[in-house]
Symmetry: C4
Subunit: 252 residues, 4 copies
């Protein structure tokens, strides 16, 4: 296997599409958002990307295996712009892999004529979030202005630690290709898988890209998560032994 | 030395052989199973694979050294199919090494005309196992059906974390070459070297591949392990200080 | 992206310049010193160096992103020698990256005709420093003699652990190219960002390279840090719970 | 800089020399032994090996810097065989580096016509050693027989974990080149720098290679270490707070 191996599964023509990335990260916000798009809209699997920088791992579902990979789906909705949606279960396992995979992702985007890149993710607040603001970061002032109009917040020093992983590099490397790119980061506690934050991010994306999706399934998932949080809070109030910190992370 | 260095020690012709892999892993199930095959059946050492991704290490036996490697033995039993058995003391030490070594292993298999791949291993249950089920995962539905008939269990969401290391990649990379591959995973506590689980896996393999072996030595080793477990349980019942968790892992 | 990618932003002619490096390190002494030079003297951004050995990260300021990089500024002061000043927010993340980046930095220096290299940094003393001595290390005896005259201290066995990272390699690799190089290390506690140590280092550099800068802003920053230290000492004296060790490191 | 960079400093002709390696390791036994040879016998520095797999570091002595490297000295004693002695302050920092460096070392040895390789080191016993046995491991039975005659012990299962790092690979990779190689491992507690163990190893090497050296300076150093041990034991007997475990390791 090559360092980066691309399987071509279909090659539909897309009309000035945008690239939408949702790989695993804080609160699984980006991944939940991107996967929700694929559940709600018709899509076609067009590329699988394998890499020696992914974990040496197959996932198993109903006894069938799938080698660790990232997937691109083409979405051509009736309303709004065409999209190339990037999802997967893994980030690269090392620095060089992050740079190489992101380059590969942008190369695939370029093959489809991608004109704008949206990296979706979460930004941890450290406490339970009441109102789900969406923070932004962009490669150009123009793009920033359009997102501000759509309700995205841009703050002087946030996120303080910058943006790491594929989402960060999608912006950094897009800028070096003169492709406008933005990161939409839903506020999230950082302790739980957060479907509400994913919905907040998607509502912004819907505004700027123009598709139409329902949020019922995300809302149901959010209700389940709130039920989990309620139970944990009850346990704590009753002085019952609370689940260990470890368990609290990424209940989902 | 090259990144992957293959020593050719013999080159017998094999008739539509299957590749059987048993490298170190959970409960040393795969390694015990593969080594038992080599003890019970006549075999010939045909390849040694050295790699800069193995630990920088020699083992020492009676004062003689052997550089870290993986070994292929050819087995041409009177009953059943020819086999190419892959054993060793090491997994690769990094991601890239896992991918590269597995590719090298499959290339060697292809040179011998391997038609099917069996990765042997253990799946941890976290508790002492009474009945040794063997879980399966395959690259094709056909292969899955044949294994189901032989008594292998296929479960919806197991193993939950997928299959990692060389065993996982043997399936993932075989699929990309259109070579049918299966992983046979014996249930095991995960705390002890588990000869019983190895026997359960071999009995399945015997059913599908068709060789004949005795299990006396594995059963003796299993009795020794049960004696160890009994002593630990007695110590715990007597409130005697139990061995540290650390010590419980991989007694063998 | 290549392993090391150089963006050429300007190409002014410099007259026998010296290379001055100030990347993050102990007490941020080198970084503070180099950044102070750029604040006080007119400078021009001439090169950005990107690398797959930097963290996969963009920094965000006012919503705009900047891919992890190192920057070279050309400084042609009225008094003293021309300088090429190397700053940035990151060190390489692995050994190979340290060697490769330093080689790239020296190649850029060679393009500008750099005749001498000054690596700026801090040396940790483990206790609050009263008098800010500057320790030196050089590749040649001549260079050492000149620095001794300027007030740099050379001690038999210091720094005991040698010099690590880009600063260390700038000396090690310069020596192999026959370019004289020195490391100027301001004594610093190692617990706090230390503007006073940075000033001590700059005052030496000023003496040997010949520029003229004010230190008001560094002094203000040093006053702020002393205020922080005073408050911590008060808290400790009042037996109030002191900030955790973790917090004490790199307050700045 | 290349991945492995060799500086040629001198090129004397050696007569069927043996390669003697003493890099840092358990009890610094190998390093002490090799450095003692260079102190006691006339020698000439013939090669420096630099590598991107060494730490990114310069050492500093009297203000002058030296880039991390390994050094080969040629020794042509009046009695006994010519020797090529390999010393240094560093092991490689990663697997690939261990394999690559050892290959480079053996290539240099081959250039000088090396006929036998001796890797010197320590084997940890976990307790203070009374009688300093020297364990052996070799690539050939012949070599083993000669060392047995010289007093080296060969034990069935020791060292249990094999031999790691450059010493291990010098044997593993020499075997693949058909160069006879041996590891001489002095028993040592593993907690202290151990000049006595180094002397025991050298006395064996003296027997098989045939040089003549004094041990006075090693004995003095051993006395100093015993004084340290005595003080620690006194402190423990007086119930005085003993130095932390951390401090006990590698006092020297």
């Amino acid at each position: 296997m090559d360092e980066f191996d691309i399987d071509v599964l279909a090659d539909p023509a897309l009309d000035e599409p945008v690239l939408v990335e949702g790989l695993p990260g804080v609160g699984h916000v980006g991944k939940l958002a991107a996967e929700h798009l694929l559940e709600e809209l018709d899509s076609e699997l067009v590329r699988r990307v394998y890499s020696t920088h992914f974990p040496p791992q197959v996932s198993v579902e109903d006894g069938r295996t799938q080698l660790a990979c990232a997937e691109f789906h083409a979405v051509t909705p009736e309303e709004g712009r065409d999209m190339l949606v990037l999802t997967g279960d893994h980030q690269a396992q090392d620095n060089e892999g992050h740079y190489g995979l992101t380059t590969t992702f942008l190369d695939i985007g370029a093959d489809f004529g991608v004109e704008e890149v949206y990296a979706l993710g979460g930004v941890p607040t450290g406490e339970l979030v009441e109102e789900y603001d969406v923070l932004g970061a962009t490669t150009t002032d123009d793009f920033g202005d359009r997102l501000t109009e759509a309700g995205v917040e841009f703050r002087e020093d946030e996120p303080a630690g910058g943006i790491v992983g594929v989402s960060g590099l999608l912006l950094g490397l897009s800028e070096r290709r003169d492709t406008p790119a933005a990161c939409l980061m839903g506020e999230t506690s950082g302790y739980l898988v957060d479907p509400k934050s994913a919905q907040a991010v998607l509502e912004i994306l819907q505004e700027v890209v123009g598709f139409e999706v329902e949020y019922e399934s995300l809302e149901e998932r959010a209700d389940e998560m709130e039920e989990v949080v309620r139970k944990i809070q009850q346990m704590e109030e009753q002085n019952a032994p609370s689940p260990a910190d470890e368990d609290l992370r990424y209940i989902g």
